[in-house]
Structures are given as C-alpha cells and as structure tokens.
C-alpha cells in the first residue's frame, strides 16, 4: 500500500493517525468541548475499518480513567479532548503518568471558561504541563498526524512508558483542511509496533496497580516519574530520527529559522509559528535581522536545543498564548525560556508577548509590532527592562 495525500482537518488527521497505529481502546466524551477527532474514530469503528473498543463515557474524567484502565490491561489506547474537558481530566493525568501508562491523547488547544469560549489558545495545554506527560505541539495538520503516530512509539518505549499528549491549535488547525500525507497501518505499525510491557493486569499473574503509598514510599515513585520524563528526551530524538528515515519528515524538539545571525529571535508554539515564519521571511527581505524558534516539544522542555538557536541573539521575544496571572513570569512558555537563559548565566532582555487569547487571530502585523518593541531593548540587559511583558492585539 502506498501513502496518499488527502485533504484533512487537523481533527481527521489525528483520527487517521490513531487508526494507522491500530489502537485497541478509545474512550471519549462525545459532546462539547469534544472535536471531530473521536467522531471520525467512531465512524472507523462502526464501519469496520478499525477493530477497537469505543467506550462512550459520561465525562472526560471517565474518558481518561477508562483508557488508564485499558492501558493497565495492556491495550493501546487513545483519547482526545479540549479546554474544560482537559481540566476535568487533570487529576487522572497525574495518575496515568505516575502509573507509567503509555496513554496517548490529542488536545485541540482551546481557551478556558469564563467567559465561555471554544476558540484557540493554549490555556488548557499549559494547565496540564505539570502532569509528567510528554507534550508536543503541532505546527500544522501533517504534524498533528505524524506526532500522534510518533507518540505511540515514544510512549510505549520500555525506557519511557509515559503518557504523551499531542496539542494542535483549536480551529486554526483542528477545523481547517490541509493536504495531509496519511500513513497506512502497515508502515505505521512497523514504525510503532505494539510492544511487550512488563507490568499489565493479567488474572494469570496477579499484581496490584495504583496502590496506596505511605510517606515511606510515595516520594520514590515521583522521582521515578521525573527520571522517566528526563529519559524520554533521548528516546524522542531517536523516534524523530527513525520517523525521518521511514517517512521522510524529520522533526526536532525545536525548529530554528534564520537564527544564525538574528538580533531578535521570536519564540512561538503552534500554528502561530507558521504566521511568524511568513512574517520573518518578509522582514528579512526588508533587512530586519529577525529569527524564529518554533517549540514543538514542550515537555520535557528542550533547553539545550532551544539555547543553541538563541545564544547569539540580542533580544528574545517569547510569544505566549496563555496567561498565568499573578506569576513572576506571566506567560507559561516564557517561564521555561527565561529559566533556560538564567541557568546558563545568559543576560539579554527576554520579553514576553501574550497574544491570541480566546481565538483572536495572530497576524504578521502582530509579529511586526513584537519585533519592533523588542528591537528597542537591543544592547540592554534584563535588569534594564521595566516591564517584561505586554499584551498584543488587545483593546485598551
């Protein structure tokens, strides 16, 4: 079977990926804030294209709980959600990671209520970033497809055994249609084969999963999780390399564009990076030395890879699509970027620009404004920055 390029929304691109890796169990809450990803999977199961159990549950809390149970029993599992649904999954996310269950979930990233808003930002994704999951953010529908396939190889790697989340921007990617090269089941399974797992629930060999751990035991298991997340860094790189060899598209934890000689480096995540790149190419033509880093891997945060692209810069502008109000950092992406610099004693102005909350469009003009405001700090140091953050595209 050859690969084919078909027009797909981000949602359907993810559904085709879950089908390609032949998932065994899917559990999902079927209504808002759900997206068409599980609707398509339900269709695949109903018409016999995918041999899987599809469990309709009464909440996202139950959806993730159901796949946690199925994963504990050794199944390859999938679930998907967004926004409030992800928040409802939050407590189970920690359980999946510390129990070391290779659950894969897609997140069409959306704003969190209130006010009620179903459109894109990264508030939901960022709220889940302390759960011990490996987390990726796709740049386009093709990446949403590819990263979902890669997620299974990474999650089920015996050195990792961790849940993986693949984010892709709500609406901008989830509901717009792009040409996507779809992997077929044979090649996807060759790349991400279902693997033997040492600990699964089996009546023939009874074990206990998810027990109580008293103060004498708990701390050790949280350290195990921490070490596994750190270990995943090299496994992810190997999985991306193998993906490139198998399918011709090589991903990295971050992408750098024009960063070698850039005086201002923009750092962005998700579909806005596509707009940012269009801006950067335009600005380069008029002589503005601006570069771009797209962050694809958010957890574990790729400090080394990111730093290589910014260590020659004069100013760094982080573009955040979420707010952590009351924190010292304001934007969540900013906190990781700023600490990456701080740990290396790198003292240039690092600015934070919060954009595009609740589905507001992020345009090339916004990136132009961000770049101009950043250039004003060229030659200065962090302590010269009076206010390190600004909101772009908001009405005063």
């Amino acid at each position: 079977m050859g690969r084919k390029v078909i027009p797909l929304s981000g949602n359907h691109a993810v559904a085709y990926a879950a089908k390609a890796v032949d998932v065994d169990v899917i559990a999902a809450y079927p209504i808002t804030p759900q997206t068409a990803v599980v609707e398509k999977l339900a269709e695949f199961v109903a018409n016999g294209e995918l041999d899987a159990e599809f469990i309709h549950v009464e909440s996202e809390h139950s959806a993730l709980s159901a796949v946690v149970g199925a994963s504990a029993a050794g199944a390859r599992v999938f679930t998907a959600t967004s926004a409030q649904g992800l928040l409802l999954m939050y407590e189970i996310m920690h359980i999946a990671s510390t129990m070391r269950l290779p659950v894969v979930m897609s997140i069409a990233t959306r704003a969190i209520s209130a006010p009620i808003n179903i459109w894109c930002d990264h508030s939901d994704f960022m709220a889940a970033s302390d759960t011990g999951w490996v987390m990726f953010m796709a740049l386009n529908a093709q990446e949403a497809h590819d990263l979902t396939v890669a997620a299974y190889r990474i999650a089920e790697d015996p050195e990792v055994e961790l849940p993986v989340a693949v984010g892709y921007d709500g609406f901008w990617l989830s509901h717009t249609v792009e040409p996507v090269e779809v992997l077929d089941t044979d090649e996807a399974l060759k790349y991400a084969p279902k693997r033997y797992r040492r600990y699964v629930l089996d009546p023939e060999r009874p074990i206990t999963m998810g027990p109580l751990a008293s103060p004498d035991w708990y701390f050790e298991f949280r350290v195990q999780l921490h070490e596994a997340v750190e270990k995943s860094r090299e496994v992810i790189l190997r999985a991306f390399d193998e993906f490139g060899r198998s399918f011709g598209r090589t991903y990295r934890p971050v992408d750098g564009y024009y960063t070698e000689d850039a005086t201002v480096v923009l750092i962005s995540m998700g579909s806005a990076s596509g707009t940012a790149l269009a801006y950067v190419e335009e600005a380069r033509r008029s002589g503005v030395k601006v570069g771009l880093v797209n962050v694809r891997q958010f957890r574990p945060f790729p400090e080394e890879e990111l730093y290589k692209h910014v260590e020659r810069a004069g100013v760094v502008a982080v573009v955040d699509r979420a707010i952590n109000s009351g924190s010292a950092f304001v934007g969540p992406l900013y906190s990781d970027v700023a600490l990456t610099f701080f740990k290396r004693g790198f003292d240039i102005p690092v600015l934070d620009f919060v954009v595009g909350l609740g589905g507001r469009a992020v345009t090339r003009r916004d990136f132009d404004e961000i770049t101009r405001r950043s250039l004003a700090y060229l030659g200065k140091r962090m302590r010269d920055v009076k206010q390190h953050y600004a909101f772009i595209g908001v009405r005063e």
Binding site: M99, R100, Y199, I207, T208, A213, E220, F221, V223
Partner: protein
C-alpha cells in the same frame, strides 16, 4: 527496621508484584480505643461481624456457657492486628456487650 529500597530498585509505577501483600500491613497502631467483648452478655447474633468494615471480628468454634447456663457453640473474638478501633461494633451491638476502652501504650 530494614533499609527500604531506593527508587531505582522499586517496581515501575508503584506496581506490587506479590498478591495479598496488604495483610502484612498491620493497622493496629491506628487504634485509640480498643473494643472488648463481654462473653457473658454476648448473644452471638453476628451483628458486629456483619458491620465490621475491616473485617476484624472473627467467629471462632469456641463453646461458651454463661453463668446463667446458656450454652453457645461459637464465640466472637477481635483481631487486634487489624482492628482500627472505629467502634462500629460497640455502636451496633444490640445488648451492649462490646465496650470501647482506652488503649494504654
């Protein structure tokens, strides 16, 4: 106490490989009040056995004859290794044959 294993040595994800290992975890230290059964007053109704959430009430084949001459073929004992001292047995006993007395360390 023996040295506990470090995080590298423990089974991944807090899996417990030995079935039924929780019986080795004695919960007697949780107890503040200790139930004591008065075998004279006990009418062997089994209500304490039914209600005990642990279960830490044990039915034993131990004949007992009260001073008034009533003979029973069985008796109830408390498993003090696991009794947490919740007092449900004393509360439910219809003849007040169970008294909660203070644990003395």
């Amino acid at each position: 106490m023996a040295k506990l294993p470090g995080w590298r040595e423990l089974p991944r994800g807090a899996v417990i490989l030995e079935p039924g290992s929780s019986v080795r975890y004695k919960t007697d230290s949780w107890r503040v009040l200790r139930p004591v059964i008065d075998q004279e007053r006990c009418i062997r109704c089994r209500i304490c056995w039914t209600y005990c959430p642990e279960p830490a009430i044990i039915e034993v084949e131990e004949p007992y004859t009260t001073k008034t001459g009533r003979a029973y073929r069985i008796s109830y004992r408390i498993d003090y290794d696991y009794c947490k001292g919740c007092g449900i047995c004393a509360e439910e006993c219809p003849v007040k044959a169970i008294t909660m007395i203070e644990e003395v360390v």
